[in-house]
């Protein structure tokens, strides 16, 4: 009788933010096109560890399962990435699963990324329209600007770029590459550009763009391939120009 192939998964468990962490190992039956989400579901269906101990299903965030909602970011074999696109066949075993470390832990693999949404508020990441009533068409946008802006608008706020950034940690509230890239996006848009000054002021505030130290990990970790370092450089240029020229020329 052929033995079914096994998948060994090692999960960092923590019942709550103030509870002690522990690790549990699971042995699962391999299936084709298996990803980390399927592993977590299989564990939920039969929450028994490798050594036969009963445990609880693992808490984790997930939604779309096609890498566009940004929910399921976690550390897989020590690297920040999306669980849905982490295919078991491409991972070294035992597969180690841990929560992101730069965000407050909720439970097990689930973390709270509210910080990023708050930052989006701070930098006014929106187009200030007058209202939703009929005001005619939007401004014309050249295909060239669209081609630049479109990739930036792919940001799924997963937090991987913050997770891998050495400048984001418990004593540095750096807003991170994702947010700065959004500033570039909105400053690029013809209507959004009207509030460029405010956004630049915000990125020069506490935890702003100055905290970037150019390690360039963000662009490597971004699951959406967003040119984050380009965004940072461009916003950096606009920012110092505004700070300096604004001081000289008002």
């Amino acid at each position: 009788m052929a033995e079914t192939k096994k998948v060994i998964v090692k999960v960092k468990r923590q019942a709550g933010p103030n509870d002690p962490a522990r690790r549990e190992e699971f042995s699962l039956s391999w299936r084709p096109s298996m990803n980390v989400i399927i592993c977590l579901r299989d564990i939920a269906e039969n929450p028994v560890t490798r050594d036969g101990k009963k445990t609880t299903p693992i808490t984790y965030d997930s939604n779309c399962l096609e890498e566009i909602c940004g929910s399921c970011a976690m550390l897989i074999n020590g690297k920040a990435r999306m669980a849905c696109s982490a295919l078991v066949d491409q991972l070294e075993q035992p597969i180690r699963l841990e929560p992101l470390t730069k965000f407050p832990l909720v439970r097990d693999l689930s973390v709270d990324r509210q910080f990023m949404f708050e930052s989006l508020k701070r930098v006014k990441a929106w187009i200030p329209i007058d209202g939703t009533y009929h005001l005619g068409e939007g401004p014309r946008v050249s295909p060239e600007v669209q081609a630049k802006g479109y990739p930036l608008s792919h940001c799924i706020t997963c937090g991987n770029c913050l997770e891998v950034c050495p400048q984001v940690n418990e004593h540095n509230q750096f807003m991170g590459a994702a947010i700065i890239s959004q500033v570039r996006l909105f400053n690029m848009h013809p209507t959004g550009a009207m509030n460029k000054r405010e956004r630049l002021e915000a990125v020069m505030g506490p935890g702003g763009i100055q905290e970037c130290a150019n390690a360039q990990n963000c662009v490597k970790a971004c699951p959406k391939g967003i040119p984050l370092t380009e965004s940072i450089a461009e916003v950096n240029r606009d920012a110092w120009k505004q700070a300096l020229l604004g001081w000289f020329l008002g």
């Binding site: 709550g16 439970r107 990324r113 006014k124």
Partner: protein, 594 residues
């Protein structure tokens, strides 16, 4: 003075649009969502959004959009509101454009349009192949602005449990659960708008997101909110099969020139690139010369099923056909379809620019949903509104591609405006409702939780759910046979019985996803029955609902809306006529001009 409040449940396109409309009118809004709203399922929509702007000089009009929608929906939709939606669509595009959506552009800087299924016109505005994501973000940003300015309060990480109804069966708020602390709490409001999306989870694997369980709809249904046309389930012809979900491969792939085919020889072992054109069977193009690969989804899905199950021409004998975009220039692919091609590449490790994709139909959308009136998205319970995929109004028996985004935004806006009017006209608001009303609802829900946690059976909720999904996919999707539907209903009954012997395997009181899932599962089972019974009763074939025993549309007996009601803790099907006052029903054929 009374300060009215509106609650919006669901932060996808419809919910966000409703929120914006209410906030803009100066009403304070509490927005509830299971996930941060930016992670809602609307992000998964790919191809585009329809509006007859006639920007390609083809003579497209909103009337033609209206006719395509009604015809595509096999005349089951009430017509007046659909007409209003099609007329509003160009304005919606303008609005989104003003919000900064990075739509694809023409060299002149205007919006570009592509073709989609069920129409002969370039009517679909798009932002690459991630239009839903771009649209959702635009609305999310506007809501964030309202939030920053204090008009909107977000309650993310809360799940809806039930509506709070007063003695007169008027909605006075909702009861919800914090998914972290597991606290059950009531929230008074003068109106509640539900925009809780799809029901894919009932079918196990679908193109839907994890949160699309239909749980909220089912909970409302059990509180007396009617549910209409549940049996109309759209199966998308081209999805990538997967163990955890079926990943959508947008219709836009065909809109941009992608072709569906299988080798003519059943046991073909040449790689697809080496098969000459003459040995390829472009069955959609042969069977439907006028629309070709862009026939509506129900037609394409059935054609693929026929190829696989009757003609036995599935790839390697498996349930799959080729979706081939390799003939499209690389530059076009990267500019217009990159998002979806990346999904294929990432999850299958094959570059679809080089190799035809292997796809198969997958459950995608529910045309049916919460019953709403044909006017302003109001349900049969005063104070409760519904918009988006969770309601039934716009798509009849089959939805056309790229019409969902427009119906979400139109319906959401309408619901927001209607709810504002409702709360402003109320003589007495939630503040006049006795505290006891809230407290008793809270207790009822809390007790339900306690019962679930204490239950010490042997059934695992995930196991029941996986079985439910297989059952529904097998018997209640593309081809429906009455004896199978009957058996399916009996099986769901037994699952409900097993559900009473459930074991949660997690009894903790912090971020307990198992508890929440178990609650959702019960609701899924109820809604699965609504769908199955609706399908069983409807002895005809119409749009996505296909019964080989009754292969034709039967307007004499079945040109009517199914309206399911919850009576004495059971499902009762009633029917009401369809408003066909604007376009007279005619035979629906895509193999010839309509």
């Amino acid at each position: 003075m009374r300060k009215p409040k509106i609650i919006v449940v669901g932060g996808g396109l419809a919910g966000l649009m409703a929120t914006i409309k209410a906030a803009e009118a100066g009403i304070s809004v509490d927005l509830f969502s299971i996930v941060p709203v930016k992670r809602s399922h609307s992000v998964c929509a790919q191809g585009g959004i329809n509006a007859a702007k006639n920007q390609k000089g083809e003579g497209d009009t909103t009337d033609k959009h209206f006719d395509d929608t009604i015809y595509g929906g096999d005349f089951l939709a009430n017509q007046p509101l659909v007409k209003r939606m099609c007329e509003a669509a160009p304005g919606i595009i303008d609005l989104l454009d003003r919000m900064g959506v990075m739509f694809n552009r023409t060299p002149e800087g205007l919006l570009d349009y592509r073709r989609f299924g069920g129409t002969l016109y370039h009517r679909t505005a798009f932002a690459g192949a991630t239009t839903g994501q771009q649209l959702l973000y635009a609305l999310d940003e506007q809501v964030r602005r309202h939030e920053a300015e204090g008009r909107v309060k977000k309650c993310e990480g809360w799940t809806f449990l039930s509506a709070v109804m007063d003695g007169a069966h008027v909605c006075r708020g909702i009861c919800a659960m914090d998914l972290r602390t597991m606290e059950v709490k009531t929230f008074p409001a003068d109106a509640a708008i539900f925009a809780t999306g799809g029901i894919g989870a009932i079918f196990g694997r679908s193109t839907n997101s994890v949160v699309c369980t239909g749980s909220a709809q089912a909970a409302l249904f059990q509180q007396g909110v009617d549910y209409a046309n549940g049996e109309f389930i759209q199966v998308h012809p081209t999805a990538i099969p997967g163990e955890d979900k079926l990943r959508l491969m947008s219709e836009s792939a065909r809109g941009e020139g992608g072709r569906v085919w299988v080798p003519r020889k059943p046991k073909e072992n040449r790689p697809p690139r080496n098969i000459p054109k003459s040995d390829r069977f472009y069955f959609l193009e042969e069977w439907y010369p006028k629309y070709g690969n862009l026939v509506p989804r129900d037609i394409a899905t059935r054609a693929i099923h026929r190829i696989v199950y009757q003609e036995k021409l599935g790839l390697d004998g498996q349930a799959a056909v080729y979706l081939d975009v390799t003939e499209i220039p690389r530059e076009t692919l990267n500019r217009k379809l990159e998002g979806i091609l990346e999904i294929y590449e990432k999850f299958l490790g094959v570059d679809p620019r080089e190799e035809p994709m292997k796809v198969f139909p997958g459950m995608h959308y529910t045309m049916g949903g919460i019953w709403v009136n044909g006017e302003d998205q109001a349900t049969n319970v005063p104070g409760i509104y519904a918009a988006g995929e969770c309601e039934y109004q716009y798509h009849g028996a089959n939805r056309l591609g790229a019409n969902s985004l427009v119906s979400c935004i139109f319906g959401g806006g309408l619901a927001g405006t209607a709810a504002v009017k409702h709360v402003n006209n109320l003589e007495k608001g939630a503040e006049a409702t006795a505290q006891a009303v809230y407290e008793s609802e809270r207790k009822r829900q809390e007790e339900k939780n306690q019962k679930l946690i204490r239950r010490d059976g042997s059934e695992n909720p995930i196991t029941i759910w996986r079985e439910l999904g297989d059952l529904m996919t097998e018997h209640v999707t593309v081809t429906r046979l009455n004896k199978n539907l009957q058996a399916a209903d009996a099986k769901i009954h037994s699952m409900l019985e097993r559900y009473s012997r459930i074991n949660l395997s997690d009894r903790t009181k912090w971020s307990n996803q198992t508890l929440n899932f178990a609650r959702e599962l019960e609701n899924m089972l109820i809604l699965a029955r609504v769908i199955t019974l609706g399908a069983l009763a409807r002895n005809e074939s119409r749009g996505a609902h296909y019964k080989p025993e009754f292969p034709d549309r039967d307007d004499t007996n079945w040109l009517k809306t199914t309206r399911a009601k919850w009576v004495n803790c059971d499902i009762q099907l009633t029917y009401e006529p369809v408003d066909i006052s604007l376009i007279k029903p005619r035979a629906r054929r895509y193999d010839a001009a309509k």
